[in-house]
């Protein structure tokens, strides 16, 4: 137990900050994922075949390739890509991107593919009459979506989004390969320093269990709120 003490003697505070880092990466990855799904869900639902193709390409490729491979692509590729873009504008210095940003981008793109599928499914399962009613009332496309489709879509999407959140949370463990100090990386450092890997990896597992447990409770509450009247 001394190993988990806060302060200089134990690893308690380090693990605590690492947990905060994991939560921060997960949330920003989830938000980046939402941005991606806002772009790609309309593409997947579009009438035009070519736009469908782009949307399908994104979700199929990202969901079919291991997360670790995507992370390696971002880890090794992002600063090169950025330097290439910068060189067009006449900037030739070495650019290094922060591990937090590359990590949340990589996990965000993965999470985006899953939430795109969730949103697509949710919109598809809204009754057609709802769209038609909006049209008949002469509402603008924006109001139609914002006031009629979006609230219903959220209600249908929340249970599945909670799965996406779980996947995203667990995927952040993989960012430890890039050196970002989140739970896994911190446990690895602690395990190396104290020569007690079993203890620290078990603690890491416990922290993850706690995070998934707590977030499930929170999401269940949210679900109840949006379910009002059904």
């Amino acid at each position: 137990m001394e190993l988990l003490a806060f302060g200089k003697t134990g690893w308690g505070d380090e693990l605590f900050y690492a947990t905060l880092m994991t939560i921060a990466v997960s949330i920003s990855a989830m938000l980046i994922g939402f941005i991606f799904s806002i772009i790609f869900t309309p593409l997947k639902l579009s009438k035009y075949k070519s736009l469908n193709l782009i949307g399908n390409f994104y979700t199929t490729v990202v969901r079919g390739v291991p997360e670790l491979l995507v992370i390696y692509l971002f880890y090794f590729g992002s600063s090169g890509a950025l330097m290439y873009v910068a060189s067009i504008f006449g900037y030739y210095e070495y650019i290094e991107i922060n591990a937090f940003i590359t990590g949340s981008m990589a996990i965000g793109i993965i999470s985006g593919a899953y939430s795109t599928e969730v949103f697509r499914g949710a919109i598809k399962s809204i009754d057609k009459g709802q769209f038609e009613a909006g049209k008949v009332l002469g509402l603008s496309k924006f109001i139609q979506f914002y006031k009629i489709i979006l609230p219903q879509m959220l209600r249908l999407a929340i249970p599945n989004l909670s799965n996406v959140w779980q996947i995203t949370l667990k995927d952040t463990a993989l960012i430890s390969v890039t050196g970002l100090v989140e739970i896994m990386r911190q446990s690895r450092i602690a395990a190396g320093a104290t020569r007690d890997p079993l203890f620290f990896y078990s603690i890491a597992a416990l922290i993850f269990l706690m995070l998934t447990f707590l977030s499930m409770r929170l999401i269940n509450k949210l679900e109840l709120k949006y379910r009002k009247g059904f």
Partner: protein
């Protein structure tokens, strides 16, 4: 770039070996724990629930590290025969994958068991078929058919999961890809080649499951 292709093809066999071994063990574990889950005894039930909760609630990476780095560090384990298994990263990876996929499989099979219509079992009973025969000849085949689509997803998730074997020094597709990237600094090209191999396998698995679903569908 072309020269890295044969290396990646060789690594594909490592990935496939890891995948098939862990799925094979995982399906038995899954069936075992699914049967425990539908057991009426509270303790047995809770035990199986705890197993699936822990393995589904933690990242696969943690599980591999606990088994490979953690268990290998226990002194007395090193003196037993288990050490000959635990010192091999290959077996550690398979154990972790099998336990992980077992947890997901048990959930899939449990929900399949629970959605079997009671009428089917009653029909068996009224025909005077013994309970164990009902279980093996009626419930299990129906449950397997019911869970095919979800299990197909699980196979694909596991295929992606095997990429974590590269973190315990195994040279699977991702491991080789990472090594090539860090020596050649051509991340995009390697990603495209390795990614296409994974996508091709996903495509094959997807179609195999679709074929099986069609073959074993109820309405013919």
């Amino acid at each position: 770039m072309i020269s890295s292709f044969p290396k990646l093809i060789n690594a594909t066999f490592v990935t496939l070996k890891l995948l098939s071994a862990s799925l094979l063990i995982g399906i038995f574990l899954g069936l075992f724990f699914a049967i425990l889950r539908i057991n009426k005894n509270v303790f047995v039930n809770k035990f199986a629930y705890g197993y699936s909760y822990i393995f589904r609630g933690t990242p696969l990476l943690v599980q591999i590290f606990i088994i490979y780095f953690g268990l290998g560090n226990i002194e007395w384990l090193r003196t037993t025969f288990l050490w000959s298994i635990l010192k091999e990263p290959y077996w550690c990876a398979i154990i972790a994958f099998a336990l992980n996929t077992g947890a997901y499989t048990s959930e899939i099979l449990r929900s399949a068991f629970q959605t079997i219509k009671p009428g089917v079992i009653e029909a068996g009973k009224s025909l005077g078929i013994s309970n164990s025969k009902i279980f093996y000849k009626i419930q299990i085949p129906i449950a397997i058919r019911q869970s095919l689509p979800a299990y197909g997803n699980e196979i694909i998730l596991m295929l992606k999961g095997t990429s974590l074997a590269s973190t315990v020094t195994l040279m699977d597709i991702t491991g080789v890809a990472q090594k090539i990237i860090s020596t050649t600094f051509r991340p995009l090209e390697v990603f495209i080649i390795a990614g296409s191999i994974y996508l091709f396998m996903t495509f094959l698995i997807h179609n195999l499951i679709k074929y099986l679903e069609k073959k074993y569908s109820f309405q013919q």
